[in-house]
């Protein structure tokens, strides 16, 4: 997918005008949020769990070199092969080389945001290998040439009517097929892919350093298929996916599924430790773990931003964000959207291309409150904004405006005469409690979509001076 993070404004206004998208977003985020609330209330010690998971991730990141060494040692001891990719290009080369060297024609792919990040499917196709997305949402997107708009519900921006039409055209299902008929068609078609595939490619939800185990969370069963039937299983992970001990896993699985879909446990949690053992009737012959950096170590090196690498990709911050709820994931212009995208994308892609994203927030703080690993998202959004200004990336008008404000606000005489003058002017424009000033240059576009309440007749400073004296 093309990166369009710098066109957030255009993307967002397009999204706001799309009534299908608006309806789909309202339904999806509302349903995710209410299910999450119920699941969180059900786990009495959820706050303690959040604090614990946040602390474990912070600790793991602080000593990540140690835990990477441990993980790699364990996976190799189990007979697995570990590959290291500095960037996306190297990562896709490793996967395609492995596929080609092993005569792989079909790859059964399970949802992985990392694979979207590095454009894996395009590279596999170019190498003559057919990647089949097997998560239903991802499959819908693949046959439509679309890309995910949400970490958990990749196709939630599409309505049922759009999907029915798509399946009718591409797969020949009935023009009025029900959701269960559409699902049954996908089951039938994808089952063939699982049987044909020589390689299963998955992401990683958690990698346990002490045992070399990876844990994968899903509801459909496509991950179980991808990791059971093909003779090769390749799992790819960013460096930040590690937890130190097996005993940490239950807590993380608990907060992940409750935060993501509001389930106490998702349908299937696969806890995979190496490839098929002697005496086991089935399973992959070879296990490969691909560990990808792709900008993460530079985020790690930044003590202020490091916390963003705690993310376990639950999507709760997306659902809770009033901006995401309106514009959807595509507007952000890259794989990671919503508040986590607005904080992570500048770290991975650079602030030059992405400085609009931290502004796609009202700083209401909802994202920080739902984050299951306590990433201080609102603070990090402000940090990116501050850096954009420092590095001269903020728009000229913003810099001039804030500069002028700083100049006036730090000089009491200018400030007092300015606010007095402003109130006098406002009185002239006051129409029933709000200002009508659409004709004032520079204010027109602001006022088009907002009410501007008329200022009080007396300023706070004035009331303070008088009122306090009167009362004393």
């Amino acid at each position: 997918m093309e990166i369009t993070t710098s066109r957030f404004k255009e993307n967002a206004s397009g999204a706001l005008g799309d009534s299908n998208l608006q309806a789909a977003m309202r339904r999806a985020t509302g349903s995710f949020l209410s299910r999450r609330s119920a699941a969180v209330a059900d786990q009495g010690d959820f706050e303690a769990l959040r604090a614990y998971c946040g602390a474990v991730k912070a600790h793991t990141l602080e000593y990540l070199d140690h835990y990477l060494e441990q993980l790699v040692d364990r996976v190799e001891a189990l007979g697995g092969t570990v590959h290291f990719a500095a960037d996306g290009e190297e990562a896709v080369r490793i996967v395609t080389d492995l596929a080609v060297a092993n005569g792989v024609r079909t790859v059964a792919k399970s949802k992985s945001m990392l694979s979207e990040e590095i454009h894996l499917n395009e590279a596999l196709e170019a190498a003559g290998v057919c990647p089949v997305e097997t998560d239903l949402g991802e499959y819908i997107l693949q046959i439509d040439g679309d890309f995910p708009s949400h970490i958990i519900g990749p196709a939630l921006h599409k309505t049922k009517e759009q999907i029915t039409q798509l399946f009718h055209e591409k797969l020949g299902t009935a023009a009025d097929a029900t959701v269960s008929e559409l699902t049954a068609a996908a089951r039938r078609i994808l089952r063939r892919s699982f049987l044909e595939a020589d390689m299963g490619v998955t992401g990683v939800n958690f990698a346990v350093a002490e045992t070399g185990t990876i844990a994968l969370v899903e509801n459909e069963g496509n991950i179980r298929f991808s990791t059971s039937l093909p003779r090769i299983h390749l799992a790819m992970m960013g460096i930040e996916k590690i937890v130190p001990r097996m005993r940490d896993l239950p807590a993380f699985l608990n907060v992940l599924t409750r935060s993501a879909t509001g389930q106490k446990a998702s349908s299937y949690i696969s806890i995979l430790t190496g490839s098929r053992r002697a005496g086991e009737p089935d399973g992959p012959e070879a296990f490969h773990l691909l560990i990808v950096d792709n900008g993460r170590s530079s985020v790690l090196a930044d003590p202020k931003l490091r916390d963003v690498l705690r993310c376990i990709r639950c999507g709760a911050c997306l659902n809770s964000c009033p901006v995401y709820q309106q514009v959807g994931g595509h507007a952000y212009g890259w794989v990671y959207s919503g508040p986590i995208g607005a904080v992570l994308d500048p770290g991975l892609l650079g602030l030059e291309e992405t400085q609009m994203l931290p502004h796609a927030s009202s700083l209401c703080g909802a994202c920080g409150e739902v984050c299951p690993v306590k990433i201080p998202l609102p603070e990090l959004l402000v940090e990116h904004r501050r850096r954009a200004v420092e590095r001269g990336l903020a728009p000229r008008t913003e810099r001039l405006g804030i500069g002028a404000y700083a100049f006036i606000a730090s000089r009491p005489i200018l400030w007092n005469s300015g606010t007095t003058g402003g109130r006098v002017a406002a009185r002239l424009l006051d129409r029933g409690g709000s200002l009508k000033a659409g004709w004032v240059p520079g204010l027109a576009s602001w006022l088009k979509e907002r009410d501007f309440p008329a200022p009080a007749r007396r300023s706070f400073r004035e009331l303070w001076r008088r009122g306090l004296k009167d009362r004393a």
Partner: protein
């Protein structure tokens, strides 16, 4: 990139040097499960959670009763051929029924398996690759036979049972395969079983 260069870059990002000390990780915290260790309560909680996620629970007092239930379920689901694991309890229950095993696993109508244990907190079944991954995954109907003494409080307890010796694939399965990818409409039996029937013995 080779291992040393790759991890070296991470180490440098952290301002650490090889062999630098590592602080102890936070004390493990196991999520609270408000259920007592009393076996009756464990089974009751398990049953409620299991049915809550869409599983169907059948209680049997004896192996014979388990077999009768299984036989009835196979007929109800019009099962022609099955996949069966070689676990002792499964074998004892199924053997006299002389079921037809599917030649190609892809054609089986039902899979009959045991489970390592049941997890009361979430109504889950823990399945091990030791007995094969296909029987619990490929057919549309999954039939499980389990002793009620094999129910534990939570996933942590289930994992502890393995000590350090984990099988290559452990699955915590909670209810049937499901998706909500089309307009948040819950649909079961996407890739894995659409129906999970548990015969709990004892």
């Amino acid at each position: 990139m080779n291992r040393d260069a790759f991890i070296g870059r991470v180490r440098q990002a952290l301002g650490r040097a090889p062999g630098d000390p590592v602080a102890a990780p936070p004390q493990p915290y196991i999520p609270e499960v408000p259920v007592s260790a009393d076996s009756g309560e464990l089974v009751a909680r398990f049953g409620a959670e299991f049915e809550g996620v869409g599983g169907q629970l059948h209680r049997a007092e004896s192996v014979e009763e388990a077999r009768e239930i299984l036989d009835r379920l196979l007929r109800e689901h019009q099962v022609a051929s099955v996949l069966i694991t070689d676990e002792p309890l499964v074998q004892v229950v199924t053997e006299p029924l002389a079921l037809k095993e599917a030649e190609d696993p892809a054609d089986a109508d039902a899979g009959i398996t045991g489970a390592v244990c049941g997890v009361a907190a979430t109504g889950s079944l823990v399945l091990s690759s030791g007995v094969g991954r296909r029987p619990s995954l490929m057919p549309l109907v999954h039939l499980v036979v389990l002793e009620s003494s094999a129910i534990v409080a939570d996933l942590h307890t289930a994992l502890e049972r393995f000590g350090g010796d984990l099988p290559s694939g452990l699955v915590q399965a909670t209810g049937p395969s499901r998706t909500a990818d089309i307009e948040q409409t819950l649909t079961t039996g996407v890739h894995g079983p659409g129906s999970v029937q548990l015969i709990l013995l004892g």
